[in-house]
Symmetry: D2
Subunit: 239 residues, 4 copies
């Protein structure tokens, strides 16, 4: 399976705290554990030509993982649109954390994707609410993260196709932190954790969920539809 990990890759260059946590970039950390899981993984970042998302890269990708935060606006409209089209055609998409505000995710959702947030080193408990879903395989009742940024409701997304995780935060908020969405032939998984100043992507259970999400999101050959003017049945033709 071909997996492309896309990262904005700006915090790592501008903030020493982030650089220390992710010396190979957030994409590097994510690519590493997905590679170990047996996938064929490449990375792409904002400042590359076409943000590293050429037609070739996208056409061969089974799943695209997306992390962005402070430079959503710098993603070219045309490329965001192309990524959206590829999702509709069947490329899986895993959107992480602040990627909720990416052009690609907002275009696919049709809503503002806004939320509440707070940076206060809070404990997060990510509870499983759908223990039949393959994305929860190998996970316990909940995942605990000692310190994370808080995301709180209301999260302005369409009703998810499946709600898998709900987060509890020390400060009094809850958040629908793991949810799936179908768009065309594409499967989308949003997963909340991963603020850049915390080592969240080294957390084993977080890694396991992202691996499961990548596995789940890949399309293995579902039908392609022909749209537009349709042929009638014989009975109609003869009328």
């Amino acid at each position: 399976m071909n997996v492309v990990v896309w990262n904005e890759f700006r915090h790592e260059k501008e903030n020493q705290v982030v650089a220390d946590i992710y010396p190979e970039g957030i994409h590097g950390a994510i690519a590493a554990f997905l590679q170990k899981a047996g996938h064929n993984v490449t990375t792409a970042t904002l400042d590359e030509e076409q943000h590293g998302l050429t037609d070739d890269v996208l056409n061969q990708a089974d799943v695209l993982v997306w992390w962005g935060h402070k430079a959503h606006d710098e993603v070219q409209e045309e490329i965001a649109e192309k990524v959206k089209q590829r999702v509709l055609e069947g490329m899986g998409l895993v959107v992480l954390h602040s990627g909720h505000f990416s052009k690609v995710f907002k275009k696919l959702m049709g809503t503002t994707c806004d939320l509440k947030w707070r940076e206060a080193d809070e404990k997060e408990r990510i509870w499983v609410v759908d223990p039949s879903h393959p994305i929860t395989e190998g996970i316990g009742e909940y995942i605990e993260i000692e310190k994370e940024e808080m995301y709180g409701e209301h999260f302005d997304i369409p009703t998810p196709d499946e709600l898998i995780f709900v987060s509890w935060f020390e400060g009094g908020e809850v958040f629908r932190s793991g949810a799936t969405f179908k768009r065309g032939r594409g499967n989308i998984f949003y997963f909340r954790p991963g603020h850049e100043t915390y080592p969240t992507y080294y957390h084993e259970q977080v890694q396991k969920v992202i691996q499961n999400g990548v596995q789940w999101a890949a399309n293995k050959g579902t039908p392609k539809f022909v749209y537009g003017n349709a042929q009638p049945l014989e009975e109609i033709k003869e009328k």
Copy 2:
């Protein structure tokens, strides 16, 4: 309740068949039965200034009904965007027939909204599949329309929040022809029938469904959220 019926209003000017069926325009026919149902109804059309959708009109609308077909591209991007925002803020939206391809609906859905179609004077049977839903009040097991344009699956929309009607067509197709979607504080109802060359909007049961849809879509005062940087609980503050 303030209801605005929007119509492209082009077929009626260019095609005598349509003009004969809807001498006051499709918007006129729809406005008439909604008025009878007790609503405060106004209309707006493509060729008016700002397509008749000024800030004032939109801000006072509880529900907007939308019919368009051959001139979706002529709807100004800025106005389509404004309508979308108003839906997210709580204005109800009832999208009819070929409105599936309108800019507003596509923006809110995030998909192509494509489908199969055929003009062959086919019989349509619109079956109720959710007999607990208020939009079906006063309707029988199905609505039969003697002749209509066919719309067939796959209909490229996100999974509806509620699937209320499924159509059967003589020529061999089915279609999810009545479906609801929540986006932000807004309620959206898509209802399939209403090709311009048939007198569908005079069909009593079709009228009843549209009335029910308007009633259902109106937001009567649900919570407004504050997004962004959140205040912590006392315990967190004191840390």
Copy 3:
């Protein structure tokens, strides 16, 4: 609208703390604010003949509100089954708090309806996650209850048709505390708060949600279906 408030009515007779909070019984407190909202309200309790749920009472009920806790097993199988049938036929059902373990709710859900719980005087924050839903009308971003029993995930219910509220608890848990389910022609609303040793049903926002739920759950005349051997269309008949 005819509303029947059913209560087990045992805690109030056996526990002075509960009797002091609800001198007219939990059913009395709930009936009082529903009556104020303009409904025609009666009550029924476990120790009455047929638990107060005669055919007459059920046939005339638009909505049944259910509170039970320690004596679920004493509800006669036959009456639980009759209530279930009435829901499928179109009677609305509002299930409160420990009613999650009632025979009626379990029969309608098909799952164990089990959950985690803790009695520790915890703060609860009931967050709105669906601000387009009429059950949230007149409510703020969340409802705060100073002290309540905790209910935690996993809550073993089928995926709700609509998830409206998610609770946060001081001790680290979350709970899907407001959810709707459609069964046949019946609308079901489950709402979590209301442990018997707290004055929760005097909380104005809790009352508002229950009123909204009753309003929402009532069926106003949706289609009734004929099941079984179906008549063919003419074309098929002539074959």
Copy 4:
């Protein structure tokens, strides 16, 4: 993967037409193509001791396939209940055709599961309405079956978690003929076709869907929950 194919196995003994089509029984035909797909398949039938569903058989089953029609009532209450529990604990369940009226399915759904039907040698077209779902892998836009029994709406089931197929019938009806449901840790797939007097289970695309359904329904290790009295966090303990 261990798959158990359960069949009532009565029509085959009593009706020569059915016996001629399925000389090894419907279970034999289904077991054969699932075996070819690489599963470890066994069968069980109504007239065996405990209907062939001993604790041992159920505890080792990853997925149970169910076909029944005329003798639903002869399935012992206790065994139906045991099968339901196993589904809630994580055994996958694929319910075929008239199995919609089986005790097991009705217990898990909480509704009557009733529908319209007609035996008139009608053409059926099973349209894919969710082309992102793995159960549609390898299938075209629709599956056509030359002659089948008709099942029509309203199908009295809870809203499916996923609606994958909708059938069109020559005589004027539609039917939600492929749908998934989550119950506890269990995945359930209902698939409509398969009346005993037609050779439907030899249809390659029907076989492919059932294989996909079995694959999808198996639980590969999702979390098991502890229910009941919960432990508090440290902060709560110290209160």
